[in-house]
């Protein structure tokens, strides 16, 4: 049978090119299994019909699309590399009398075998792992589950379809590249002297300038609004700068080093510098991409991780008690009694006890500090965050009730808490209103999302009575009620705990809102810490999961790219090192030169990624604040831990790769 001949040939080809095909097959298996896992988790989520997880489904779906794109990139990159490496071999088949249709048949079998290995291996690995990953996913989301082994048919079908199409495209590409090339080209391969790259001064300088600009933006931004505004432009600048620096900057720098004779003509630098110039030319784009993706991985994992871990901190701030209800003050409600009584009534009905309740009236707004120290009302959208204050107004009654401190404020007087302990002038002036500052007090411990949005300034102003608060409210609404910022209200916030069995608590909370609405006309928030926690974990748990998932995909891609680059270079460098050996370089010298070169190529992107992360850190802290994470220590620790983990994984890839490289060169 002629066909079986080509099949046999294809099989032995794959075996002979093990060094190339083994990582390729492994990557195929990994990618297929990742895709399968993602798909099966989605279908399992749907089957469990958890009320929670609707957000997750959307994010998972998005992640699947990214996974397919990554799979495309990896498959095509590696495939084109494989074909290039095998040009000589294919050319030889041509010379030995194989026609293009024979070569195509051979290619067909090769792709089919690789595809089957990838699909079957990937799906087996996926089926085994998906249950475990699903459990991890659910526990990240804090959704309880029981494990049942299953293989969702739709996931299998979808995997086969998607990768079937991908492999088909690969096959078409391979056949086309075989048909298009003539045997002589195949035999010659890529062997010819390369031109030394030229210094392109302008792009190099532009790279430095853009990087400096991006960093300055990121570091110099004040406050959340400004940071959010400049972050994307800064990222774009830094990405552009990274490419320019790797492409032009590296070569300019190396050429400059080459001009420094005392530096260049040293045994350690001589070979490295001249070799690096060529190496950078071939690899700059790839290295820049790896650098940027590494930064993305480090940033996204460390942010989602610290959001995930910082969760209890945030909840603790938001929920001084387990339950929280609030309403807007109007004619009906002036002191929180209506709300409190309604809660009590509902508690009696469901047989639980309200304990440790406390509440207060509050009014929030923003003020802008003028040069002379007085404040003007603001809708909070001014750019200069250092001059922007968040004001919280409270009454002295509520303050005394909750802290036990008596203030005795008379009309026209106020007590003030300033978060950053800045000196407060004797008279506090806000537009036309002004108060004599009688005393400064401790943190009243109230919470509002706005507090975290503007990082710098917060002032709590304790006024004599509700009437004074209404004066402030009216002044604000007169000015802003009809603008985009809208009118504000004085609200009553009520925090309390509930005593009772879990089942009782559950009924209490489930029916709380519908019952409160009956009595309280302008009810706002009805929340408890468990519900908030569940929402939180679902959202950030999914983020974290997806972040890790995509990072693994990225690492596979990056390590494959690096691995194949090293192999290609190993074949190129082999000859070079043989020459150096003959000219009188010792084995040790050769080994240390190789090590330096690989290390530089490898760790340059990582180093740059760490630098980017460090520069982005202050801005990220601000953004995390907007996401309610105020614990900077957690974020810093997460960032460092993630960076180190990433570096460690990267180092393992490096060790494996350089080992292969040595073997080729030696």
């Amino acid at each position: 049978m002629r066909n079986s001949l080509y099949f046999k040939l294809a099989r032995s080809n794959l075996k002979k090119n093990r060094q190339i095909y083994f990582p390729y097959t492994l990557a195929n298996i990994l990618i297929v299994s990742m895709y399968y896992i993602l798909k099966s988790i989605r279908s399992m989520m749907l089957k469990y019909e958890t009320t929670q997880g609707s957000n997750s489904d959307m994010i998972l779906n998005f992640c699947t699309i990214v996974a397919v794109i990554m799979a495309c990139i990896i498959l095509f990159y590696v495939n084109s590399f494989v074909i290039r490496q095998r040009k000589k071999e294919i050319g030889l088949y041509c010379v030995l009398g194989m026609e293009k249709r024979h070569l195509s048949t051979m290619m067909f079998w090769e792709v089919l075998i690789t595809a089957l290995r990838g699909l079957v291996g990937g799906m087996i690995a996926g089926a085994l792992l998906s249950q475990l990953v699903f459990l991890i996913f659910l526990s990240m989301l804090r959704i309880p589950s029981d494990l049942r082994f299953e293989i969702p048919i739709d996931a299998v079908g979808s995997t086969c379809r998607t990768f079937g199409i991908l492999y088909l495209i690969v096959l078409i590409y391979n056949i086309l590249s075989v048909v298009r090339t003539n045997p002589i080209e195949f035999l010659q391969g890529a062997k010819e002297g390369e031109k030394e790259p030229k210094v392109r001064k302008l792009p190099a300088i532009l790279g430095v300038v853009l990087l400096a600009a991006g960093y300055t933006f990121a570091i110099g931004a004040q406050g959340v609004y400004e940071t959010l505004k400049i972050f994307l432009p800064a990222v774009v600048l830094v990405i552009a700068a990274t490419y320019l620096l790797f492409l032009a900057g590296s070569i300019a720098f190396l050429k400059w080093m080459k001009k420094q004779e005392r530096l260049y003509y040293r045994p350690r630098n001589f070979i490295t510098i001249s070799g690096m110039i060529y190496r950078m030319k071939q690899n700059a784009a790839g290295l820049a991409t790896i650098c940027i993706l590494s930064t993305a991985v480090i940033v996204s994992i460390s942010t989602s991780f610290s959001l995930y871990l910082g969760e209890e901190d945030i909840l603790e701030k938001r929920f001084p008690r387990d339950y929280m209800s609030s309403c807007i003050l109007d004619g009906q409600e002036s002191n929180g009694t209506v709300l409190q009584e309604a809660v009590q009534k509902h508690a009696d009905r469901t047989g639980v006890k309200v304990t440790e309740g406390f509440g207060y009236k509050q009014l929030w707004m923003a003020g802008f500090q003028e040069a002379n120290g007085t404040f003007t009302l603001s809708d909070g959208e001014q750019a200069d965050a250092s001059k922007l204050y968040v004001f919280a107004f409270l009454t002295q009654d509520d303050y005394s009730k909750n802290t036990g401190e008596k203030l005795d404020l008379a009309k026209g007087e106020a007590a003030v808490y300033e978060k950053n302990k800045n000196q407060v002038s004797e008279t506090l002036t806000l537009d036309q209103l002004s108060w004599n500052v009688r005393t400064t007090v401790d943190d009243p411990g109230i919470w509002n999302e706005a507090l975290y949005l503007s990082d710098a300034n917060f002032m709590a102003v304790i006024l004599p009575d509700l009437k004074s608060m209404e004066t402030v409210l009216n002044a604000y609404n007169e000015r802003y009620a009809d603008t985009r910022a809208g009118s504000r209200e004085i609200t009553y916030e009520y925090y309390y705990n509930i005593e009772g069995t879990d089942a009782e608590k559950d009924t209490f909370f489930k029916t709380l809102r519908e019952n409160l609405v009956e009595d309280v006309e302008r009810l706002m928030t009805v929340d408890n810490i468990d519900q908030a926690r569940a929402h939180y974990y679902e959202q950030y748990g999914t983020f974290l999961f997806i972040g890790i998932f995509l990072s693994i995909l990225f690492l596979i891609a990056a390590s494959l790219i690096i691995y194949y680059k090293q192999i290609t270079e190993g074949f190129d460098d082999r000859e070079r090192y043989q020459i150096m050996k003959k000219v009188g370089m010792t084995n040790d010298e050769i080994r240390s030169t190789i090590r330096r070169q690989i290390l530089q190529v490898f760790f340059l992107p990582l180093l740059m990624a760490a630098m980017h992360t460090a520069a982005a850190f202050p801005a990220l802290v601000d953004i995390m604040r907007a996401l309610n994470l105020i614990n900077q220590t957690i974020f810093a620790q997460c960032t460092i831990a993630v960076t180190l983990t990433f570096a460690a994984i990267y180092f393992i890839i490096y060790t494996i790769t350089s080992h292969t490289y040595y073997r080729i060169v030696r």
Binding site: Y265, P267, G275, Y278, R576, V583, G584
Partner: protein
């Protein structure tokens, strides 16, 4: 005292399982005086490449001894070999073996850089050499930009810049056309007249006819040798040809 002394050199290659032994060199002895230009001739498989590898210290002999300038190779430790080679030997290869990432100048500098020489010192040495070899206007070019003859002259400059005791050349004209070959061989003679000791392995009769002495190797032993003496190059060419004919027909000549 002779510059190079080769005594009863023997090299046996054994395959991996030790079942099959090939004697590349059986018993080779000769000496080379300072300032000599010697060619080693022989057919493929005669052992001349093996001999060169041993002389270059790329490989260790199975038996016998090589003594360069009074020091036996046996007494040099493995890790010192590279630096010994760098200081005492210069190499010219058939396929030039230039590094394509280095300019002509830097290729010439390579052994000096490895030896830790100062940039000023290297520059001082390279210019006179480049003038003699007529590559002084190519210094900033890269190997892919120059011709084969120019490449080989660059390689010679690289071999000479360390001022080695002995230059070993392995088929230096093998990859060159006849014009470039002539030029190169004349240059070798010129360098030799300036006092440089050269040992050249070749199977080109014409290349060998430029040498002051020709050693013939056959079946792993020195089979015959011819001194040029007062002979012209044409006469030398003729006697080498005759010797080769005798050797090929299996006749016996005194060693």
């Amino acid at each position: 005292m002779a510059l190079l002394e080769v005594r009863h050199l023997k090299k046996t290659y054994t395959n991996r399982f030790g079942t099959n032994q090939v004697q590349a060199l059986r018993d080779v002895s000769f000496t080379i005086e300072e300032g000599e230009f010697t060619a080693v001739m022989g057919e493929s498989g005669s052992g001349k490449t093996t001999l060169l590898n041993l002389l270059a210290s790329f490989d260790r002999p199975t038996g016998g001894e090589i003594i360069l300038n009074g020091l036996s190779f046996q007494n040099i430790r493995e890790k010192d070999l590279a630096s010994y080679r760098r200081k005492n030997l210069g190499f010219v290869f058939q396929d030039f073996n230039l590094l394509d990432t280095l300019s002509v100048k830097d290729n010439i500098f390579l052994p000096l850089v490895l030896a830790g020489a100062k940039p000023e010192e290297m520059k001082k040495r390279v210019m006179p050499l480049a003038k003699v070899l007529r590559i002084d206007d190519l210094m900033e070019k890269f190997p892919y930009e120059i011709s084969g003859g120019q490449k080989q002259r660059t390689a010679i400059a690289r071999a000479l810049i360390t001022e080695p005791r002995l230059v070993l050349a392995d088929e230096p004209t093998g990859a060159l056309d006849s014009r470039a070959s002539n030029e190169l061989l004349n240059m070798f003679e010129q360098i030799n007249r300036a006092g440089q000791t050269i040992l050249m392995v070749t199977h080109s009769t014409k290349a060998a006819s430029h040498a002051g002495r020709v050693l013939f190797i056959k079946d792993g032993i020195v089979y015959h040798q011819i001194y040029r003496g007062d002979k012209s190059r044409e006469e030398m060419f003729k006697s080498i040809s005759e010797t080769l004919t005798v050797m090929a027909s299996g006749g016996k000549t005194h060693a």
